[in-house]
């Protein structure tokens, strides 16, 4: 039996349904990230697990105990809030020790445990200060300390890094990963930042409109997105999705007024929509800029540079293809492409994804490790 089980959960707020018939199982010790845009129901899902909301329908079990209607204080959970919610009238020490104080742990043991955790989180010098006297990054650590001082069944984190500036965020992310790996508690981490989810989680749950779109390892979420939503949400920049018509006989995709060869094996294996209309997906890093000197001569698409953004190690180039736009990443060195310049693009054939135009679901299987153009 799974450690945390959500069974057919439905939750509506007035006329808005936040969670629709959602089922999810999380194993003990697992680190699961719930990823989705704002308003997708991910925070509601976390609050349902915490007991801060009650589901309209369905069941929630934590360590085999039905907690569907149990109040938060009996669920043995610890949570880090997006805004940290450190009690402003208490010192950092009192904040961290509050969960122990409630459990009537003896004073000297409280002191010992708070000092130990403060040491490991490098906040020992802040214990006498008030939350408003410390920085955002320090507040985040205090909030984590307050959650970690307990030995909870599950650790819930609601966008704990979103209030930090970009530099702090990456540092705090590494630290959080190190820390959570070390304690090994089951963790559910809500975020709208796909890079956080990719970097931290064992499994990612991608949500949209209160429905789970895909549950998979970070690698599979990235390499095998189940539909256009997941494909366009994960990746930085995300996958390009081009409207295309597939001609099965000639094994070509018609994109605007141009034609691109695709692997016949894809077409043989699967049924295509009658009219052949698909979204053709390709990640920016799987597109290369074709030079006349290149030896291989796979088919190319011709486009016009719209804008080129050098980021140091890589350059993101936005290219206009007929009426559509496509992003290309060129690694290494600065690129000197000028807007308006004509270029030819080549797609890695095995990294081409085809999605049904109507339903958005992926049609083709993806084979690993093949770099043929």
């Amino acid at each position: 039996m799974a450690w945390i089980e959500l069974e057919n959960i439905t939750k509506t707020f007035g006329k808005v349904s936040a969670i629709r018939d959602l089922s999810l199982q999380i194993e003990k010790g697992e680190f699961v990230a719930i990823l989705g845009p704002s308003g997708c129901g991910k925070t509601t899902l976390l609050r349902l697990i915490a007991g801060l909301e009650v589901a309209d329908k369905g069941k929630i079990r934590i360590s085999e105990e039905d907690v569907t209607f149990a109040p938060p204080n009996v669920r043995k959970i610890a949570m880090v809030f997006q805004n940290y919610a450190l009690y402003p009238h208490m010192t950092v020490f009192k904040n961290i020790s509050y969960p122990l104080f409630i459990k009537k742990v003896p004073d000297d043991e409280i002191k010992k445990r708070v000092n130990a955790i403060a040491d490991s989180l490098k906040i020992s010098l802040l214990l006498d200060r008030y939350p408003q006297q410390i920085s955002g990054g320090q507040q985040q650590r205090v909030a984590v300390a307050r959650a970690m001082i307990q030995t909870p069944n599950v650790f819930l984190l609601d966008e704990p890094l979103s209030n930090l500036d970009a530099m702090m965020r990456i540092e705090a992310r590494s630290f959080l990963k190190y820390l959570l790996d070390k304690i090994g508690t089951t963790t559910i981490y809500v975020t709208h930042d796909q890079s956080e989810a990719m970097a931290l989680a064992d499994r990612i749950v991608v949500m949209q409109n209160g429905i789970i779109q895909q549950i998979d390892s970070p690698k599979d979420i990235y390499d095998k997105p189940s539909n256009t939503f997941v494909a366009s949400f994960v990746g930085n920049p995300p996958m390009n999705l081009l409207e295309a018509n597939i001609n099965i006989n000639s094994a070509q995709a018609e994109i605007g007024s141009q034609y691109l060869d695709i692997k016949e094996s894809i077409l043989n294996l699967h049924k295509f929509p009658q009219n052949g209309r698909v979204y053709l997906g390709i990640r920016p890093e799987h597109i290369s800029i074709y030079h006349e000197s290149d030896t291989n001569n796979g088919s190319t698409l011709e486009g016009e540079v719209f804008v080129s953004e050098p980021l140091g190690f890589e350059t993101i180039i936005t290219v206009i293809l007929g009426e559509q736009q496509i992003k290309v990443i060129k690694f290494g060195g600065l690129n000197n492409l000028k807007p308006g310049e004509k270029i030819k693009l080549q797609f890695k054939k095995n990294k081409i994804y085809l999605f049904d135009h109507e339903t958005g679901y992926r049609i083709n299987e993806i084979q690993e490790e093949d770099n043929e153009y």
Partner: protein, 272 residues
């Protein structure tokens, strides 16, 4: 240039007249109690404390302060308890018609009540057997003030992020522990403001005790001061002024407290 100077002078004269009109009674209040020949004009004469000693020699004057304290404290307790509980619900739980309910309460307590409601309030107190009792006065004054207090406290509670309470629950505290350890300390300032305001309004209320109380021994200070006449039926100005100053002090102190507390802003462990 001259024109500007002239209009500036006119402005100052005009303002001085208005200021002295408002400030004269205040000066009178602080000067006359110490005057040996108190009158309606502001003149100190020889400073004396005899007016105060005559206040303390009048038993009615002394125990009416006690009555005022009983009534004001009673109103304050009742208002704070009822208003904070109701405001918490209005702030944290939205039910159908909750905003309308507050609107109606405010409307009827502030606009319809007061002098217009005196006759029905009097009848109500008679039929409840509360006439000529402190309880009747306390209920009536508190009843008029609670809706406004709910409204003020609700806005204050609204400004306290809900996540503090949620964090406390997740940390393992029960609802009552959460209210006691987290919510009450955070809302302390708002509650002090409400307590001070209701104390001041009960302390200064004349009409309700004047109408609902009939025996002189139950009169609060506000009503007693109305009865300070000499044997010939003339107002005893020395006594009235000394008494008025003593009567004013708690209110002044109260306002100073409110002013100090109202200068707050909400800092917290919330990163915004």
């Amino acid at each position: 240039m001259n024109k500007i100077r002239f209009s500036g002078a006119v402005n100052y004269i005009f303002l001085s007249v208005i200021v002295s009109f408002f400030i004269a009674p205040v000066i009178w209040l602080f000067v006359t109690p110490f005057s040996s020949s108190p009158s309606l004009s502001i003149s100190l004469g020889t400073p004396t404390l005899s007016n105060f000693s005559s206040v303390f020699k009048d038993p009615a004057a002394v125990y009416s302060f006690g009555n005022s304290i009983i009534i004001a404290v009673g109103v304050t307790l009742l208002t704070v308890i009822c208003a904070s509980l109701a405001a918490y619900i209005f702030s944290r739980y939205h039910f159908k018609g909750s905003n309308f309910l507050i609107f109606i309460l405010i409307l009827f307590s502030n606009i319809v009540s007061g002098t217009a409601a005196m006759v029905p309030l009097y009848m109500l107190n008679i039929s409840l057997g509360l006439i000529n009792s402190y309880l009747g006065v306390i209920f009536t004054i508190a009843g008029g003030g609670i809706p406004t207090s709910i409204f003020i406290l609700k806005s204050f509670f609204d400004s306290i992020p809900k996540s503090y309470e949620e964090a406390a629950l997740v940390d393992g505290s029960s609802y009552s522990q959460m209210l006691l350890h987290i919510f009450l300390p955070l809302s302390k300032k708002g509650i002090i403001v409400i307590a001070t305001l209701s104390f001041i309004s009960a302390w200064g209320n004349f009409l309700i005790p004047f109408i609902l109380l009939s025996s002189q021994s139950t009169y609060p200070a506000s009503v007693t001061i109305y009865n300070f006449y000499t044997e010939m039926g003339l107002p005893n100005i020395g006594l009235i002024s000394a008494y008025a100053l003593l009567y004013t002090l708690p209110v002044v102190i109260g306002y100073l407290v409110v002013n100090k507390v109202f200068g707050f802003s909400f800092y917290g462990g919330i990163k915004g």
